[in-house]
């Protein structure tokens, strides 16, 4: 009896302890998200957000006078969707592969390993806006050091417009993202690598198995869970990417991401209805892709453990 009252008292205390945190999260996340969904069905503007009319789904898609309107038919939004998908797939794949390679390199014992690991933290610690500025300067078409290096090495004959040329600007943005976040993936993979028991490798060595085979048959399955977590962190960040593109190339068609598009409609063009529709779509795209990813990962890991 005393036990029961004690634990119910504890439960009541638990909700009391949770409530401040929950109130804040509702105020800054749950409620604003619900309001964004709601605003996407209105014609609200940033000038006066209390004055609006309900317009149904026309911010998303509407057919009027022989033409399609709405975010889903907006060529700039479609370009942003394509850019975001290219950015996500290319940058996350590169970061994963390079991250694994760097982690394997740093897992070897050699003098100066601690220094290398410290160097890895540097790009990660530099604020994104600052990295974007540093690289914008290095990639400057007239005075940039990258063009200078490549010309000295004879790899290019004339300076390249890394940020202005639409065929190169996405490459530049991806390169900077890879520079900045590969160390993060590498550190997570390295932590997992160090938890792989040594006897796994010893057994493989006794059996005379080649190192590539050891990696794919022993190491990779053992680090797979940590790798899956690192990849999902990266996927989420890449899908909502904003600052790098905003600072490096602005809202150009060649690099604009879904976040940049939504923020521009909402803040620069003051169109809360249209911007909220774009934000809502981004939210559901991310939710959908994340659940798909989690489901395939779950199927994958439960399949291999049997």
């Amino acid at each position: 009896m005393a036990q029961r009252t004690l634990s119910s008292e504890r439960r009541r205390a638990a909700w009391l302890l949770l409530s401040p945190m929950l109130v804040v999260l509702v105020a800054v996340a749950v409620w604003p998200l619900a309001r964004t969904f709601y605003f996407s069905l209105t014609n609200a503007t940033l000038v006066d957000m209390s004055e609006y009319r309900f317009v149904g789904l026309s911010n998303y898609l509407a057919y009027e006078g022989g033409r399609w309107y709405g975010v889903l038919s907006d060529p700039q939004w479609l370009a942003a969707l394509r850019n975001t998908m290219i950015f996500v797939v290319v940058s996350v794949s590169l970061e994963t592969i390079l991250g694994i390679l760097i982690a394997l390199l740093l897992n070897a014992k050699f003098p100066g390993r601690g220094l290398m690991r410290a160097a890895m933290l540097v790009p990660w610690a530099i604020p994104t806006v600052v990295s974007a500025k540093m690289w914008s300067w290095m990639l400057n078409d007239q005075f940039g050091v990258i063009n200078d290096m490549l010309m000295r090495l004879g790899l290019i004959g004339t300076p390249m417009a890394w940020l202005a040329d639409p065929s190169l600007s996405m490459v530049s943005v991806i390169m900077v993202d890879v520079w900045k976040t590969t160390p993060f993936v590498a550190l997570l993979v390295l932590a997992a690598l160090q938890m792989v028991p040594k006897d796994c490798y010893e057994a493989a060595a006794v059996d005379g198995i080649g190192s590539a085979k050891v990696f794919f048959c022993v190491t990779l399955p053992l680090i797979a869970p940590a790798l899956a977590v690192a990849v999902i962190f990266r996927l989420l960040d890449a899908m909502r990417m904003f600052d790098l593109v905003y600072v490096m190339t602005g809202a150009t068609d060649a690099t604009m991401t879904l976040s940049v598009f939504a923020q521009r409609e909402l803040v620069d063009f003051q169109d809360v209805g249209y911007g909220s529709a774009a934000s809502t779509l981004l939210f559901f795209i991310i939710a959908l892709l994340t659940s798909l990813y989690v489901m395939t990962m779950r199927v994958g890991t439960s399949g291999s453990s049997r």
Binding site: L121, W124, S131, Y246
Partner: protein
């Protein structure tokens, strides 16, 4: 022989990697020490050290105020999110109540929100509270990414502490606040330092909310100030000033990260390896 070749290969790979990782920061330092037309001649090491850019950013940009703003915002964000999450983590890790798993999952889901998804709703909330163009708007809005993270990490950490710790305290009839203060806080200090530092960095670096919710240069934080440094025209960006400002805000951060290296990496990887 093969060993020597492998050693050399390793050394070459490491040097190349270190150069790739560190060169942008090095080049920013080199650029920040140049002035005038020297800026537009590529050089790979500093020749005449000029501190003009470092002196200019204080007078031309009011950069000291931007730094102060960033510090105020980041410190408030860290203190508030740690205070809120330590009590929440106690409830989530040490008390068995219905809906605990659902709640943890919901908190994790919030950390996956894209920031623009809450932008218009948050705009309304901030205007309603009268916080537009005020640092308070940033402290409030940054909770959306720091709170889920600190709650999650501290919950994982607390869950691993032995049950016996509390039993004695419960026998002595201590309430939950006393238990948290006298028993958990001392044990949690390292974990709180690590998560606090990561939350500080996240708040220090944030750009989208800071760009949207502040208007005047007096309220801007460092990332927005750096992003918006402009010259006479788009083609005359004062690169010396930009690089000097970049170096000033980056160096303390790097020192901090390197000093707390072990703890930070542990904090970063805790969720990933255990989860």
């Amino acid at each position: 022989m093969r060993l020597i070749v492998a050693r050399i290969g390793l050394a070459v790979a490491c040097t190349a990697l270190a150069a790739f990782l560190l060169f942008p920061l090095y080049y920013a330092v080199v650029t920040s020490l140049k002035s005038g037309s020297d800026l537009f001649r590529v050089s790979y090491w500093p020749r005449d050290v000029e501190l003009t850019s470092y002196l200019r950013i204080w007078s031309e940009q009011n950069f000291a105020l931007n730094i102060l703003n960033s510090i105020i915002v980041a410190v408030c964000v860290v203190l508030i999110s740690l205070a809120l999450s330590v009590t929440a983590a106690f409830a989530l890790s040490r008390v068995n109540f219905a809906g605990r798993k659902t709640l943890l999952f919901a908190i994790l889901a919030i950390s996956m929100f894209p920031q623009v998804a809450v932008l218009s709703g948050l705009f309304e909330v901030i205007r309603m509270l009268g916080l537009y163009n005020n640092l308070g708007s940033l402290v409030l809005s940054y909770m959306i990414f720091t709170l889920p993270f600190t709650v999650w990490v501290l919950t994982t950490f607390m869950r691993d502490l032995p049950v016996e710790l509390e039993e004695a305290a419960i026998m002595d009839n201590l309430g939950p606040f006393a238990i948290i203060r006298h028993i958990f806080l001392p044990l949690m200090a390292p974990a709180m330092a690590a998560t606090g530092l990561l939350a500080f960095i996240a708040a220090w670096n944030e750009f989208l909310f800071a760009l949207t919710f502040t208007l005047s240069n007096e309220q801007r934080t460092v990332p927005v100030a750096i992003a918006l440094i402009t010259g006479a025209s788009e083609y005359e960006l004062p690169w010396g000033n930009i690089m000097a400002a970049s170096v000033i805000v980056t160096v303390p951060l790097i020192v901090l990260v390197l000093v707390f290296q072990r703890r930070m990496v542990a904090g970063l990887t805790a969720g990933a390896v255990k989860g």
